[in-house]
Point group: C2
Chain length 270, copies 2
């Protein structure tokens, strides 16, 4: 058995299949909207199509994934939902931030995103739609992308201590190409974001939308960000500033909410 793709086997023992399976699952959670095709998954994981096909079939058999026969795309399946129920987080950031998202959506009329770090990825943890008729919904709840891709995911990086953030940019270097980015570029943006206190999306990947995000957490609590996204015309420079200020105020509010909540439980994840 040879390796086709770039990633050398990062882990030790006889568990290649489990690591490959996990990589596939994460990759499927990265797919927007419709789901992921076999060839996309093959390219993204560096596994040959026949292997991916066989694995996907087994995962569908187990209902970990579901296959749309019309489009031949794969998406997260019922068993994943059910297993997720059993993994209720200790610190339910989604619940805690729900009223905050609501408030921002009402105040701005635009879409609001809560993004957190998960390993090398940014994860869309929650979303609220604003009242403005043209919805900017580039991300679904549960979607993943490399840290640094887009305003929300860049702000998550900015929530981390600088050395850690930069290390993650390096770690993700190989993945940025798919988003028309480079590690250098992300590094520069990250530094700029630290200066400014907020991020603005470059519109490099999704042209018609623009986003503003403010980081929070990163030490006791997970690195995260609040992000407002709208069509570009609705986010001209002067409004960006106003939205950023609003987000900063709400981040402060979350800070006090978290201080109340978080009894430093030794066990486990957020």
């Amino acid at each position: 058995m040879e390796f086709k793709g770039a990633e050398a086997p990062r882990y030790r023992d006889g568990a290649q299949s489990i690591h490959r399976t996990a990589a596939l699952l994460r990759e499927i959670a990265a797919a927007r909207g419709g789901g992921a095709s076999l060839s996309k998954l093959s390219a993204a994981t560096g596994l040959v199509p026949s292997t991916v096909h066989r694995m996907l079939q087994a995962l569908v058999d187990e209902e970990l994934l579901a296959k749309d026969p019309a489009t031949r795309t794969y998406r997260a399946g019922p068993l994943l939902y059910e297993l997720g129920l059993a993994a209720a987080p200790r610190l339910d950031l989604r619940k805690i931030c729900a009223p905050v998202l609501q408030r921002i959506a009402e105040a701005t009329g635009d879409s609001v995103y809560l993004t957190v770090r998960s390993g090398d990825d940014a994860l869309t943890l929650d979303r609220r739609e604003g009242s403005f008729p043209i919805k900017a919904l580039p991300q679904e709840i549960g979607n993943r992308r490399p840290l640094g891709v887009g305003a929300g995911a860049l702000a998550v990086l900015a929530a981390l201590p600088a050395p850690e953030g930069e290390a993650l940019v390096i770690a993700n270097a190989a993945r940025y190409g798919r988003y028309r980015l480079t590690a250098e570029r992300v590094g520069t943006e990250l530094a700029a974001a630290r200066e400014r206190g907020h991020t603005v999306s470059t519109g490099r990947f999704v042209a018609r939308y623009r986003g503003v995000a403010v980081p929070f957490g990163g030490l006791e609590t997970p690195a995260a960000s609040l992000c407002v996204i709208a069509i570009s015309e609705r986010l001209k420079p002067e409004r960006i500033e106003r939205v950023a200020e609003l987000l900063h105020r709400e981040v402060a509010a979350i800070g006090t909410l978290l201080a109340d909540q978080a009894p430093p439980e030794p066990t486990g994840h957020w």
Copy 2:
């Protein structure tokens, strides 16, 4: 490689590892409270301990599971939660039933459970606590057990067409031993439940609690049940009848809610 346990390889191709992994994950979701130990998982899956150990380690590496170092038990990990987010169900039974559970909890003062079918298992989809100080909380959200074990899971069976229900009892025959049950016994209880319209737990597995459940769904919508659980003293025969009537009324209410909702989407799961 030989097979130690009872189950012969149910699936075809070169995907043993994926099926074993899925079995492990399901088994961990079956564990109450603290989590599952390696030996329990080994026994439950029929895999030798060294194999289970290696797989669990890999799953923990991937954060699909988390290990409590103190008790050396395994439970669902953060990545499962995150992947579950991406698998939002089309028909969100949990959301739809939320107000119903709330109402029942307030009316009875006892714990209320929403249980659904997932393959050969019953799955605790949601729970609400009543005001009575002694809480009957034998199940956590996300917990699994074989269909037929306990009032709620027996009522789920009763929601299915009789032949299908009986077939599932046969399919689960080998698993009932762990719950001090037999397929015959479950079959009898199931028949009785169909007569009566509701189930009452025998208290065979959890002695100090008693439960009453009423089935619903099973055709267009997934087989499910509403269940009220309390300490045995609070569920004497005459109160059981009154609670069962209340549950029947609420089941009817769900029926109309579902009729409004469910646009028969061809794709996928509930």
